[in-house]
C-alpha cells in the first residue's frame, strides 16, 4: 500500500468495434438534442448503418490480424475468437434489423400519450416520430457486443443493463395495439429487473466465495477455496437464473411470448436474433470459463433445463394462434436445442471446440432465419396493422405465392429439414452432443423437433392448402429495406443449407482456441 494507483492499460484497437458502436450511440443522442426534427431521420439512418458496418469491418480486421490470447482492458473484456465471431454475427444481424426499423411506421408518434387519447391523435397528425429509436438501438447493440465478451461479472452486469434498458423502452413503442405494446414493455422491464437482481446477487455471492469477480479467478478459486460451498452454489445458481432468463429457457420463458408479441416487429426481430446470440455467448463464457471446474454440478441442472425448455417450447407453440407468439415459443424451443450445445462439453479441447463451433454455427443460421421470418410478418397486413392471427394467414400462398413460399422455407428451416441452414445447425449440435455422451438429450431433442415440426407445418398448411378468407390481409409492397432483409435472410438460409462449409470453417477457427482466460 504505497498509495499510488497504476493507470490501467486499455487496448483501444481491440475494443474499437465496441467503441464505434457506443460512439455512434452517443452521437445519435446529440443529434436528437440538436438537429431539427425533419433532419433527424436522415442523419440517424446513415450514421447507424455506417457505424455498424464500420464496427463489423474493424472486427473482421481484428480477426484477420490475429486473435489475442489475453483479455483486454486489464482482464475486463475478452476479445477472443468466439467473441469476435459473435460480434460479427450480432453486427450483421443488427444491420439487417436496422433496415427493417427504417420503415418508421412501425413506431408510435408519441409514446407518452395515453392510447386512444387526443394527444396521440395529434401526434399522428403532426407526423411526430420517435427518432430516438436509432440511438437506443445502438446502445442495445453495444450492450450485446460487450455482454458475451465480458470477462468479469461486473462488466457482464453493466453490459446486461446497457443491452436491456434500451430494449425495454423499444418494446413499448409499437404504433398499433398500443396497450399490448405497453404491457410488453412493463412486463419485460419488471421481469428483466428481477433477473438482473438475481444476476447481481449471484455476482456478490461469488465474490464472497472467490474474492474476485473475474471469471478466471473464480475458476481458480474453485480448486483452492474450501468451506465456502454454500456461497458458491447459491451464487452460481442465481447467476444461472439471470442468464437463463435472457435466453428464455424454461422455467424462465414466460416473458418471451408477451414481449415478442407486443414489441414492434423489427425490434422483436433484433431481440430474437441479436439478444439470443449475445446471451448465449455470455452464458457460455460464464459456465465454461468461470464455472468450468464446477461442471459436475451444473451439468445435471442444465440437462434438466434443456429438456424442459425444448419440451415446453415445442408443446406450448402448438397451442398458439398468433404468429408472433408462435415464433416466440419456437425461439424458446431453439434455445433448448442450443443449450444442448452448452452441455456437450468433453474432456479434450477438440471436443469442446466441436461443441462451440456447432453452437456458433447454429446461432448464425437461426439468427438470419429469424430476422427473415419477422420481416415477412411485417409485410402481411390488414386494416388493423400487421395480421398476427394465424387464421388470417389462410390462403396466403394463393394471393402472394412468392412471399408465402419464402416464409414456408423459413419455417422448414426452423423445423430443421435438410437443405436448409437449420438442419446443419441442429446437426452440428447433435453431433457434438453424441460425441460427448449426451445421446439421451439428443433423442429428446429430435422428438421435440418432430413436435415442433407440427406447428411449423400447420402454418404451411394454412398458407397453401386452405382457401383464402374473403377479407383476408393483403401483402404490402415491401420497402427496399424490407425486401433486402427478406432476400438476405432467404439467401443465407439457402447457402448455409446447401454449402455450409465456409461458415463452419469460420466457426471452427473462431472456436479453435476456445475462450481466453
Amino acid at each position: 500500500m504505497n498509495g499510488t494507483i497504476e493507470a490501467p492499460t486499455i487496448e483501444y484497437a481491440l475494443l474499437a468495434p465496441l467503441l464505434v458502436v457506443f460512439g455512434a450511440a452517443i452521437v445519435g443522442v446529440l443529434v436528437e438534442a440538436f438537429a431539427p426534427r425533419y433532419l433527424r431521420s436522415a442523419i440517424h439512418l446513415p450514421l447507424t448503418l455506417l457505424s455498424l458496418a464500420g464496427a463489423f469491418a474493424l472486427a473482421v480486421w481484428q480477426a484477420l490480424k490475429g486473435v489475442p490470447t489475453k483479455p483486454a482492458a486489464m482482464g475486463a473484456v475478452a476479445v477472443d475468437g468466439p467473441a469476435l465471431f459473435i460480434w460479427g454475427t450480432i453486427l450483421i444481424l443488427a444491420f439487417v434489423s436496422v433496415l427493417l426499423i427504417k420503415d418508421e411506421e412501425h413506431f408510435v408518434g408519441s409514446a407518452a400519450a395515453v392510447p386512444g387519447s387526443a394527444e396521440e391523435e395529434q401526434a399522428l397528425i403532426e407526423r411526430a416520430a420517435h427518432t430516438e429509436v436509432y440511438p437506443l438501438l445502438m446502445f442495445a447493440v453495444g450492450g450485446m457486443l460487450l455482454f458475451p465478451a465480458a470477462n468479469d461479472l461486473l462488466v457482464a452486469f453493466v453490459a446486461l443493463e446497457v443491452m436491456s434498458l434500451p430494449l425495454y423502452l423499444l418494446c413499448g413503442l409499437a404504433r398499433r395495439r398500443r396497450l399490448l405494446s405497453q404491457e410488453a414493455a412493463v412486463k419485460y422491464f419488471l421481469l428483466g429487473a428481477f433477473s438482473s437482481a438475481f444476476f447481481l446477487y449471484g455476482t456478490a455471492l461469488l465474490y464472497g466465495f472467490a474474492g474476485s469477480v473475474e471469471l478466471a479467478r473464480i475458476n481458480l478459486a474453485l480448486g483452492t477455496v474450501g468451506g465456502q460451498d454454500t456461497l458458491l452454489y447459491i451464487g452460481a445458481a442465481l447467476l444461472g437464473v439471470g442468464l437463463l432468463f435472457k435466453i428464455g429457457a424454461a422455467p424462465f420463458q414466460a416473458w418471451k411470448p408477451d414481449v415478442y408479441q407486443g414489441s414492434p416487429t423489427p425490434v422483436t426481430a433484433l431481440m430474437a436474433s441479436g439478444t439470443l446470440v449475445a446471451a448465449f455467448g455470455a452464458l457460455l463464457r460464464v459456465f465454461w470459463v468461470g464455472l468450468g471446474g464446477l461442471d459436475w454440478d451444473w451439468r445435471p441442472v442444465l440437462y434438466g433445463v434443456a429438456i424442459l425448455t425444448m419440451v415446453v417450447g415445442a408443446i406450448l407453440a402448438i397451442t398458439q394462434t398468433d404468429i408472433k407468439r408462435m415464433l416466440a415459443y419456437s425461439s424458446v424451443a431453439h434455445g433448448g436445442f442450443l443449450l444442448i450445445g452448452v452441455i456437450a462439453t468433453g474432456h479434450t479441447q477438440a471436443e469442446n471446440t466441436s461443441a462451440l463451433s456447432g453452437l456458433l454455427f447454429y446461432l448464425v443460421a437461426y439468427g438470419f432465419t429469424t430476422v427473415g421470418a419477422f420481416a415477412v410478418v411485417t409485410m402481411v397486413r390488414d386494416a388493423g396493422g400487421e395480421a398476427w392471427h394465424l387464421s388470417r394467414w389462410a390462403g396466403l400462398g394463393k394471393r402472394s405465392p412468392l412471399l408465402a413460399g419464402v416464409f414456408a422455407f423459413f419455417l422448414l428451416a426452423f423445423a430443421g429439414i435438410p437443405l436448409t441452414s437449420g438442419f446443419f445447425g441442429k446437426y452440428a449440435i447433435f453431433q457434438a452432443a453424441v460425441d460427448n455422451g449426451a445421446t439421451p438429450l439428443v433423442i429428446i431433442g429430435v422428438v421435440a423437433s418432430a413436435v415442433a415440426a407440427f406447428f411449423y407445418v400447420r402454418v404451411i398448411v394454412l398458407m397453401f392448402f386452405s382457401d383464402p378468407a374473403a377479407d383476408g390481409p393483403s401483402v404490402v409492397l415491401p420497402s427496399r429495406g424490407t425486401a433486402a432483409v427478406v432476400g438476405v435472410a432467404a439467401l443465407a438460409t439457402v447457402v448455409l443449407g446447401v454449402y455450409p462449409q465456409p461458415v463452419l470453417d469460420l466457426a471452427h477457427t473462431a472456436a479453435q482456441s476456445l475462450f481466453v482466460r
Partner: protein, 501 residues
C-alpha cells in the same frame, strides 16, 4: 460421363424451366420431354452397367462438407439401378396420366409439374447415394415436394393426409438422424461413405440400437404393420399420379434402406431382429389383405393391398436367402408397375365419375371395355397371376423364405389367396353386373390414357415371361449384400423348383 449427376441435373433444371414457362400446356409438354430425356439417359446408363463388374458403378465422389465428413457420393449397384429405372419409367407415365389432374383445384399447374421433376431428381438421388448422410438428406428432403403435391392437389381431406404423411415420415427420419450421427461417432472413421462404414460397428449391442434407429424410419416409410396407418390416408387423398410415385417409388426407399443399410451396416443386429421383422411382415401380409377386402374406397383398397405387398418385400429382405432377396428386389420393381397401373386406372375412373367409392360403379366393362380390361390385367398382376411379372417375384420370395422359415412362408401364402379375393371382388363389383345408371355414359380410355396404360401392361407381361435381364442385374448385388451379412443359403432338404422362370 457423370451419369447420375446428369440425371439429377436434368431433372432439376427441368423443374426450374417449368416454372419459367408461362403457358400451362407448354409446361406440361416441357415436363414430359424432360422426363423422357431422363428416361432415355437412364436407359443409356443401364445398358452400360456390367452386372458382374464392380459392386458400385458410375461412382462419383466429391467432398461436400469436409467438416462433417460428408461427401457428395453417388453410384449404383444392381439393386439401386433397377429402382432408378423404375422411377425414370414411372415419371413420364405419371406426367402423361396427370395431364388434367392439377387443373381441377384451380391451383398452379406449373408448380405441380415442377414438383414432380424435383421429386424425380430426389428419387434418383436417394437410391444412388453412397454417402449415408447424403442418403439421409434426400430421404428427408423428398418429403417436401410430395407433401405439397398431396396437400395442394389432393382430395377433400388433403391437408390432414399431407400433414400425417409428413409428420410420420419426419419422426422416423429424425430417429434415423440420431442413429446416423451415432454411427459416425462410433465408427470414428471421419467419413459417411457407405463402403467405408460397412463392418466398422462390431459391438452387437451398439448394432442393435443403431439398427432400430434406421429400421423404424424404414418401417414407417415402407410401411410395415403397425407403422402403416398414414399410407391409406395419404394414398387415398393424393392425386392419382402422386399416389403412384408415393406407393410405387417413395415407399420403396424404406425396403431399399432395409436391404442396403440395415443388413449391411448392422449384420448381427439384423440377424437378431429377423424373427421380429418376419413376424411383423407376416402380420402385415395377412392384415393388409383382410383390411383391403373390407374397403369401400378403391384408392384405400389399393393402398392396403400395398401394405400386404410390402410385407412380402420385407419378408424377402430379411429371409436372407439369395432367392428371397432377389425376389424382394424384383418385387419392388414389379409392385411399382402393377400398383402404378391400378392407381392410374382408378384415377381415370375417378376423373370420369367423380367418386372414389366402389359402390358408385357397376358394369363398367360394358361401356368401357378397354378400361375394364386393363384394370383387370393390373389387378391380376397385383394378385400374382402366373404369366405376369409379380408372380415371379412373389414366388421367389415365398420359396426363398421357405428355405429358412417354413411357418411364416406358409402363412404368407394365405396372403396370395386373400389377394385374389380383394382384387376379383372389387373387379366384380365395379366392372361386372348390370351397368349402373351413373356410369352409362362413361367414355372409354382416350388415346392419351391408352399411352399411359400400354407401357405398364407391356412391362408386366414382358417381365412376367422374361425376368432374366432384371434378375441378372439384381442377383450379383443381392449375393454381395448377403455375403457382407455373411449368411449362406441353407441347403434344401428336398430340391426346390427352378425359380425365376
Amino acid at each position: 460421363m457423370p451419369w447420375l449427376s446428369t440425371l439429377m441435373g436434368v431433372s432439376v433444371l427441368g423443374a426450374l424451366g417449368v416454372t419459367l414457362v408461362r403457358n400451362d400446356k407448354l409446361a406440361k409438354q416441357f415436363t414430359l420431354v424432360v422426363s423422357l430425356i431422363v428416361l432415355a439417359l437412364t436407359v443409356a446408363m443401364a445398358v452400360q452397367f456390367s452386372p458382374n463388374g464392380d459392386k458400385f458403378q458410375f461412382a462419383e465422389t466429391y467432398d461436400w462438407i469436409p467438416a462433417f465428413g460428408v461427401h457428395y457420393g453417388v453410384a449404383v449397384d444392381g439393386i439401386a439401378l433397377v429402382l432408378i429405372l423404375l422411377s425414370a419409367i414411372l415419371v413420364p407415365i405419371v406426367v402423361l396420366a396427370s395431364w388434367h389432374d392439377a387443373e381441377a383445384g384451380k391451383r398452379s399447374v406449373r408448380t405441380y409439374f415442377s414438383l414432380l421433376l424435383v421429386l424425380e431428381a430426389m428419387m434418383i438421388g436417394v437410391f444412388a447415394a453412397t454417402d449415408v448422410f447424403l442418403f439421409y438428406v434426400f430421404f428427408e428432403a423428398m418429403l417436401i415436394p410430395m407433401y405439397f403435391m398431396i396437400g395442394s392437389y389432393g382430395g377433400a381431406q388433403r391437408s390432414y393426409a399431407a400433414v400425417k404423411f409428413l409428420l410420420y415420415s419426419l419422426f422416423g427420419g429424425l430417429l434415423m438422424l440420431v442413429a446416423v450421427i451415432a454411427l459416425y461417432s462410433i465408427a470414428g472413421k471421419g467419413t459417411f461413405m457407405f463402403p467405408d462404414l460397412v463392418g466398422t460397428i462390431q459391438d452387437v449391442t451398439t448394432q442393435k440400437w443403431l439398427f432400430l434407429g434406421f429400421f423404424i424410419a424404414f418401417a414407417i416409410k415402407a410401411p410395415l404393420w403397425p407403422f402403416h396407418t398414414w399410407l391409406p390416408d395419404a394414398a387415398a387423398q393424393a392425386p392419382a399420379g402422386a399416389a403412384v410415385l408415393l406407393v410405387g417409388v417413395l415407399d420403396k426407399v424404406g425396403t431399399y434402406g432395409m436391404l442396403r443399410f440395415c443388413l449391411e451396416l448392422f449384420p448381427d443386429a439384423a440377424k437378431f431382429f429377423t424373427p421380429l421383422v418376419i413376424t411383423l411382415s407376416v402380420i402385415g401380409i395377412v392384415y393388409g389383405a383382410i383390411v383391403a377386402i373390407g374397403q369401400t374406397d378403391m384408392k384405400r383398397l389399393i393402398a392396403y393391398t400395398s401394405v400386404s405387398h410390402f410385407g412380402f418385400i420385407a419378408m424377402g429382405v430379411f429371409a436372407m436367402t439369395t432367392s428371397a432377396g432377389a425376389g424382394a428386389t424384383l418385387y419392388m420393381v414389379n409392385h411399382g408397375f402393377s400398383t402404378g397401373a391400378l392407381f392410374l386406372i382408378a384415377g381415370f375412373l375417378i376423373y370420369r365419375r367423380g367418386s372414389q367409392f366402389i359402390a358408385d360403379y357397376g358394369g363398367v366393362q360394358k361401356v368401357a371395355p378397354v378400361l375394364a380390361g386393363t384394370f383387370l390385367v393390373a389387378g391380376l398382376s397385383s394378385l400374382s397371376l402366373p404369366g405376369l411379372s409379380t408372380f415371379v417375384s412373389e414366388f421367389m420370395v415365398l420359396t426363398g423364405t421357405y428355405q429358412r422359415y417354413v411357418v411364416p412362408a406358409v402363412i404368407a401364402t394365405v396372403g396370395v389367396i386373400l389377394a385374389a379375393i380383394y382384387i376379383l371382388w372389387m373387379y366384380q363389383r365395379m366392372m361386372n353386373g348390370p351397368t349402373a345408371e351413373s356410369v352409362k355414359s362413361l367414355p372409354d380410355l382416350n388415346a392419351r390414357e391408352k399411352w399411359v396404360v400400354a407401357p405398364l401392361v407391356a412391362l408386366l407381361l414382358v417381365f412376367g415371361f422374361y425376368p432374366k435381364p432384371l434378375l441378372d442385374v439384381i442377383n450379383p448385388a443381392v449375393k454381395d449384400t448377403l455375403s457382407s451379412v455373411s449368411v449362406t443359403d441353407p441347403q434344401p432338404a428336398v430340391p426346390v423348383a427352378q425359380e425365376g422362370q
